[in-house]
């Protein structure tokens, strides 16, 4: 494991020395945390209105039942925007892995690296952890800050309960590492064909689509992140992550990298 640690340290050292990557990694994360809180703060200071009677939403999402107009506004805004949080385990590792894997290929550093006694699983694990750990740490930390923010800005505890639901917490805790793993595995796959970290990031944008689908499902009331739905999503992601990692391991063989990557 010492060599894995050496890889991890090098990755983070490189990351620290590139402000653009740091901004690209953590800037959107902070924005996505502040955005729902600012929206909720604005609703808190808006004039109140009569209780909502949206039977479609309320039927699917009982947490919204009986809320006042402003409570409903805060809850619905918080619920929709809190799903954007799940973009963080996509954005953060995609930026880090793009520079860590594609950057290594573009800088022609892979061959000297593979010529050392390092085993390919050690290299892959080091690079995976280098992208995974910051993604998980930042998402969970900002998730914690978001929860505290919701608590202090929410008009009532009912609003907090509607936003910070058990389903949302399950997804935040369990799906964050899984989403990050899928992203990293995809970046490894993209690295086999792409020579520029920015292009790799753009291609990895396809990963946003499932999150957009979840947001759309929430907005339309067709999908509510209750615990069974959250656990179902977690199970699907776990399967996807296992498949993606298996594929990444196959693509990251010493021989494959040197003879087939273009």
């Amino acid at each position: 494991m010492r060599r894995v640690w050496v890889i991890l340290q090098k990755e983070w050292l490189e990351l620290r020395q590139d402000r653009l990557i740091l901004i690209g990694t953590f800037g959107p994360a902070i924005m996505l945390t502040l955005l729902p809180l600012l929206g909720m703060w604005a609703v808190r200071h808006a004039p109140d209105s009569p209780p909502q009677d949206d039977s479609t939403l309320a039927a699917a999402n009982p947490a919204l039942l009986g809320l006042t107009g402003r409570e409903f506004g805060q809850a619905i805004l918080g619920q929709q925007l809190s799903v954007l949080f799940f973009l963080l385990p996509l954005i953060i590792p995609s930026v880090i892995a793009a520079y860590s894997v594609v950057g290594e290929k573009a800088g022609r550093t892979l061959e000297p690296l593979l010529a050392t006694p390092l085993r390919t699983w050690q290299l892959l694990l080091g690079k995976t952890l280098a992208a995974l750990l910051p993604a998980v740490a930042v998402t969970w930390t900002l998730g914690g800050i978001f929860v505290l923010g919701v608590r202090s800005i929410a008009i009532s505890p009912r609003v907090t309960d509607a936003i910070v639901s058990p389903g949302w917490v399950i997804i935040l805790t369990l799906c964050t590492p899984l989403l990050a793993l899928v992203t990293i595995a995809l970046m490894v796959a993209i690295s086999a064909r792409v020579n520029d970290p920015r292009t790799a990031q753009q291609v990895s944008g396809v990963l946003v689509l499932p999150i957009v689908t979840v947001v759309a499902g929430q907005v339309s009331g067709r999908l509510v992140l209750n615990p069974p739905a959250a656990l179902g999503i977690t199970a699907i992601l776990a399967l996807l992550a296992a498949l993606a990692l298996w594929a990444a391991t196959r693509l990251f063989g010493r021989e494959v990298v040197l003879t087939r990557w273009r």
């Binding site: 090098k10 050292l13 590139d18 800088g107 061959e111 000297p112 010529a115 050392t116 003879t259």
Partner: protein, 319 residues
């Protein structure tokens, strides 16, 4: 012959049905500088990659620094050092950080890693720039840093792929002197280069390769085998009249005149030159200068590749 640093038997590697390396059988004694010459696309890099356990051969076998390919590749990689075709350095890291990182991957402890890093940065005159990001280094500095990286773990066998390419004359000389130092330390150097003057100057053995090993010999052996040995005699006037006199000498293999130059093919010029010159002078030849007939490695290389091409064409036409 002493112990072998590299031994290959029938080493073969194909890509998409095309043989990049075909039946390579080669022995390189320890402590020698071996020049591996061949045109672009000849399979040199594939050979180096196989010998450094980066890719596996599809046929044949090889033993490098005492390790058989495919048996303990991790130990083999620890016993060899490689300078790849492009330096491949981390631009955002400093020279010292780059070397320390690789030293750690070769399992050097932090004290030894720091010591080796300093040693090679000083040897290759990069110590003054040790904390500067490598992204700002010139091509020559990057190349020297990559050479330092290949040596940090004190490998027995060092593979250098085009070590002087793109370097200015001063940096090239530093690298050449360094290769000599490495040989003096008893290391085996596998040198891939297109710079034939470097190869001529540095190598004990030369292999000319184009998918297959065309020739393997010392630089002098290659010259002698291809062109034979001989002497050039410059006369004060037309050399043609002296050709019959020269050819009449029993030890002369052939003689030819071009203007005032008489070219004489001999088997042992060192022993035969005094008799040859005496005979010419005795018959009144106005001898001005006597010089050995020298062929550059470039002439040898081009001749051998040309021969190989002709052979392939003949074989192709015969089918």
């Amino acid at each position: 012959m002493g112990p072998l640093a590299i031994e290959t038997i029938g080493l073969t590697r194909h890509f998409a049905g095309r043989a990049a390396v075909d039946d390579l059988t080669l022995t390189i004694p320890a402590g020698k500088v071996f020049g591996f010459l061949g045109p672009n696309g000849a399979g040199k890099t594939t050979t180096v990659r196989m010998l450094t356990a980066l890719i596996a051969p599809l046929g044949g076998t090889a033993c490098v620094a005492g390790y058989r390919l495919g048996e303990n590749d991790e130990a083999l990689r620890r016993a060899v050092g490689i300078l790849t075709e492009t330096p491949g350095l981390y631009d955002r890291l400093s020279a010292r950080q780059n070397l320390t990182f690789f030293a750690q991957l070769y399992d050097l402890d932090s004290r030894k890693a720091a010591m080796q890093t300093e040693r090679y940065l000083r040897t290759l005159e990069l110590w003054g720039r040790r904390d500067d990001p490598v992204g700002g280094f010139s091509r020559g500095m990057r190349q020297k840093l990559a050479i330092a990286r290949a040596l940090l773990h004190e490998p027995e066998v060092v593979f250098l792929d085009e070590p002087t390419v793109g370097l200015d004359p001063e940096a090239s000389k530093i690298v050449r002197d360094f290769v000599r130092e490495l040989r003096a330390e008893g290391r085996t150097i596998f040198l891939t280069t297109h710079n034939l003057a470097d190869a001529d100057e540095l190598c004990d053995l030369i292999g000319i390769f184009q998918g297959r090993l065309l020739h393997l010999d010392t630089p002098a052996g290659l010259r002698a085998e291809l062109f034979g040995e001989g002497t050039r005699i410059t006369l004060a006037g037309d050399a043609a009249p002296w050709v019959p006199t020269t050819e009449a000498l029993s030890f002369v293999r052939s003689a030819a005149a071009t203007g005032d130059l008489l070219t004489v093919a001999l088997d042992a010029p060192d022993d035969q030159n005094p008799t040859l010159v005496a005979a010419l002078v005795a018959t009144g030849a106005p001898v001005r200068y006597v010089t050995p007939q020298e062929h550059t490695l470039e002439e040898v290389y081009l001749q051998l590749l040309g021969n190989a091409r002709e052979t392939r064409q003949l074989v192709g036409a015969g089918r």
